[in-house]
Symmetry: C2
Subunit: 245 residues, 2 copies
């Protein structure tokens, strides 16, 4: 048995997240496992680096799996791309040590969140970005978001349904930038609570709109109160961008 580490990109629009689910719901994991079976006839379990929510995309999602087959990495990559649906792509495949596990060995992740900042919708961005017509001051938000950086208890930025006992996480970096009418939020950290990225973006939008003060983030963190933070922005703007090992 060899252990393969693979990086995938996918558009999450058509899927109920990455992780295989009961009831035959279409998931990215399910599609990859089916593709492996189609290609080499092995029933494998794909270990993903994280769950992702329905509608969330990935530019660099890492998974590993153990195979009996003697196929080489390039053959596996191109073979899988041939049988996978058009909205899932394998960007790279390499052999990994037997003890490598995409989730347990993960040291951090980088997410991006894209907002189409325009009064007028784009037919090409519908499932790829959130749209917000109110002008975004990306310089102001780039200053404000720095308050997320560091080790903090992010309880206030976790969905109410979050069942994690330990809500302390370390944010490595956070930035907000603009290219034309697209505003990009980039955040990396050692781990993220349920909906955490989307709640930080929603909180920054509240700061943009004047519903929260520019310097309010440290107080919201200290409160550990979800009700003090902004709304959860929708999934279609979120991309798992990179995974660190």
């Amino acid at each position: 048995m060899r252990n393969f580490k693979a990086t995938a990109a996918f558009s999450g629009t058509a899927y109920h997240g990455f992780q295989r689910q009961e009831g035959g719901l279409k998931t990215v994991q399910g599609e990859i496992e089916k593709a492996v079976y189609k290609l080499i006839g092995e029933r494998v379990t794909v270990n993903g680096c994280s769950r992702t929510d329905a509608g969330v995309h990935a530019n660099g999602f890492v998974f590993n799996m153990f195979l009996e087959n003697s196929i080489d990495c390039r053959g596996l990559q191109f073979g899988l791309n041939g049988v996978l649906p058009p909205d899932i792509s394998i960007l790279s495949v390499e052999e990994a040590p037997p003890d490598f596990h995409a989730r347990y060995n993960c040291r951090g992740k980088e997410y991006i969140y894209l907002i189409h900042n325009s009064e007028i919708k784009s037919p090409f961005y519908a499932d790829r970005m959130y749209r917000s017509w109110y002008p975004i001051d990306e310089k102001k938000l780039d200053r404000a978001c720095k308050a997320f950086i560091g080790e903090h208890d992010f309880k206030a930025f976790c969905a109410a349904s979050c069942d994690k006992e330990i809500t302390v996480r370390t944010i490595f970096d956070y930035s907000v930038s603009r290219e034309g009418d697209v505003v990009k939020f980039t955040v990396s950290g050692d781990g993220f609570l349920y909906n955490m990225v989307r709640i930080t973006v929603g909180t920054l939008l509240f700061i943009n709109d004047g519903k929260l003060a520019e310097d309010s983030i440290p107080n919201i963190i200290a409160s550990r109160d979800r009700a003090r933070a902004g709304k959860t922005v929708p999934p279609q703007g979120l991309y798992l961008n990179r995974v660190f090992y």
Copy 2:
């Protein structure tokens, strides 16, 4: 009755082209006419600047229509965007003289064709670009494509099913450029025969791959023989970019 000139962008993936068709096929024209009825209760006929094929997109498709309603341009634009599906957007609306007709007054059009030049598919480009893995020499093709510029009989670059008697058209400009792994073909002219843009791109790809010589375009034009030109590249890379009046 006032005459409204509107510019739309749409993703053509879900549609059987722009023009309304028999048999209830989903078309962009049909969706816009339904949206007008939903918004102001008028049954209108939308005059499009051209047909487009199934799967072809538009960044700036112009149409006109006559309305009784006293709605203003901005109200019409934002109202239509509210009721249209996410893959059709109205970019602008203005009042036009009563004799303005989007097709008859059209003096030319600009198309772009996008190729994802990569061994590895992108889940985000599937319906938006054609993919070609063989490395494209965009500088060579940018030189070769200049032979299309000017007034020529483009019979060799017209689908076999083309029923136009006059096959002379004037190409204003043609260029090929690259941004990262995306190669862009930009062509403008006073009119285009059926599949003409897609056959010129397919011919340039034959030149890229060495199936045709770099200087072969004048001879292919002179031959008036469809069999001498390259293949017709698929619709999903094609965008009606601008319309000239």
